[in-house]
């Protein structure tokens, strides 16, 4: 019962979000700000995590494929495909759900409990649209860039491992990452990320927008934002994978 109520409220919020903006220039300005907050500020974490994961997958796979019958370059293939197919889309989305989701929920939640949202409404501003739409646009535009970045950096992390250790020849690795490369893996990943961006931003905004009470509730709403958007990202992954690959 509660679930249907929340789902209903979520869709009502979405209709408010996609109402016609009062002034495009203001929305544009907000979107630029959000690109910085949501996108550029996530560069660091995506780079660090991707480089390590790329390195670890390389070491792991190398260890598992240590069989004279298997060609060495298969390590490169595996690293590439793991990154392109799942890590740089779904795992990066989960990381961003943690970072961006919680910050969106606490930002909007704080605005709710400190009456800033009421203040916007009183001015006659559509607060849902003004606060949330720029975040959606910024994320749907920038998350794919972060995902592409993660692919490059992850593959580079693997390459670095080959150079710094002697587990695998860099030339084998390079050969592997080019071997049977399907460019549509990238578009497949990027498509998924666009959906994830929408899910993370709208779910987190929803949690913040309907926060009630004080600082404690804002904290709770940001936890819920991370949990729910992560679960929905995984669910969406299942559905999208099924749809795109069939």
């Amino acid at each position: 019962m509660k679930f249907f109520e929340e789902a209903g409220q979520y869709f009502i919020l979405l209709t408010k979000v996609f109402a016609k903006p009062e002034k495009y220039i203001l929305y544009y300005r907000q979107t630029v700000k959000e690109v910085e907050k949501i996108g550029l500020n996530s560069f660091g974490i995506v780079v660090i995590i991707s480089i390590f994961v790329g390195a670890v997958i390389t070491i792991q796979t190398n260890y598992n494929l240590e069989n004279p019958l298997l060609p060495r370059y298969l390590v490169g293939v595996t690293v590439r495909d793991s990154l392109l197919l799942e890590f740089s889309s779904t795992m990066v989305a989960l990381i961003l759900a943690g970072k961006v989701g919680s910050s969106i929920a606490s930002e909007i939640g704080t605005m709710r409990v400190s009456e800033q949202i009421d203040a916007l409404e009183i001015m006659g501003v559509n607060s849902a649209s003004y606060l949330i739409l720029p975040k959606i646009i910024a994320a749907m535009f920038f998350f794919p860039i972060l995902s592409l970045l993660s692919m490059f950096v992850g593959i580079f992390g693997g390459y670095l491992t080959c150079i710094l250790t002697d587990i695998l020849l860099p030339s084998d690795y390079i050969y592997g990452i080019q071997y049977m490369f399907y460019p549509h893996y990238i578009s497949y990943s990027v498509t998924k990320v666009v959906f994830y961006a929408f899910i993370i931003v709208t779910i987190s905004s929803y949690q913040g927008y309907y926060a009630e009470g004080g600082a404690l509730e804002v904290g709770r709403s940001s936890t819920k934002a991370v949990v729910y958007s992560s679960i929905l990202v995984l669910l969406a992954n299942l559905i999208l994978t099924k749809l795109i690959l069939s």
């Binding site: 009062e22 002034k23 203001l26 930002e107 704080t110 605005m111 400190s114 009456e115 800033q116 009421d118 203040a119 409404e121 009183i122 001015m123 006659g124 501003v125």
Partner: protein, 250 residues
């Protein structure tokens, strides 16, 4: 002029406002007083439409607010300025951006015109050289004044203030009270102020309404309030020893 007629507001089963009817006059500071929890904030938020009411009518001059559709309400909202209990400045915007936002949204002014309007409003509340500071960098009283500047940026016809001087020292409180009163008279605004501060009542209470447990049980001017026979109001007005002494030797 704002009129509320037979207003009733419930939260679930709890009646917070019970058949309240009041007329708020133009060009005057109308005060709503009452104990903490008596329903002042709920009344104010019901009048501006942040709460939907269960029964009753709300009239802004000749327009019945609570029967309008979303678009028509929005038109009235542009004529409303509101000062919230906690100032409610936008944390991530500077003082200047805070005051400018309503102008950005609803006027076609150039940046220069907007800036001069912002500076005019800030000067009106005795604030200069704070344009580029963030809300976290100014004091509580300054926040309230910035919030007033933001509320008057679009020349409102109706001004709502929820406890404009709570949390301030008495002197600053009176400065803010007088500021609101001056602006009200200067621009002939219908102003409604929530307060539980007897200083404000005496200083600026052109018209005072006393809310007790969700009911309006008294209205009059700040002259009349000192001589009232109403028992609950007497307890409220003369709650402090200082006030009691004043009554004995006026």
């Amino acid at each position: 002029m704002i009129e509320v007629k037979h207003l009733t507001k419930k939260f679930e089963d709890k009646t917070v406002l019970d058949d309240v009817s009041i007329t708020f006059e133009q060009g005057k500071t109308n005060l709503i007083i009452g104990q903490s929890g008596s329903g002042k904030t709920v009344l104010l938020k019901s009048i501006v439409g942040l709460h939907t009411v269960d029964q009753g009518e709300i009239w802004y001059d000749d327009r019945q607010y609570n029967s309008l559709n979303f678009k028509q309400k929005k038109e009235i909202r542009k004529e409303i300025g509101m000062l919230f209990q906690g100032a409610a400045l936008f944390d991530s915007s500077t003082v200047e951006e805070n005051v400018m936002l309503p102008l950005d949204m609803f006027t076609e002014m150039s940046y220069k015109e907007k800036l001069s309007r912002v500076n005019f409003c800030l000067e009106r509340v005795n604030l200069t050289e704070v344009n580029s500071l963030f809300p976290s960098e100014i004091s509580g009283g300054m926040k309230k004044r910035v919030a007033i500047a933001r509320a008057i940026a679009l020349n409102p016809k109706y001004l709502f203030c929820d406890e404009p001087n709570s949390g301030l020292d008495p002197q600053t409180g009176i400065v803010i009270d007088n500021l609101i009163k001056n602006i009200t008279e200067e621009f002939n605004i219908t102003t409604i102020i929530n307060t539980h501060d007897m200083n404000s009542v005496i200083e600026i209470g052109d018209k005072v309404v006393f809310i007790y447990e969700g009911k309006k049980i008294w209205e009059g001017s700040n002259q009349e309030i000192m001589k009232t026979e109403c028992k609950e109001l007497n307890e409220f007005v003369f709650a402090t020893n200082l006030a009691k002494k004043l009554r004995e030797n006026p």
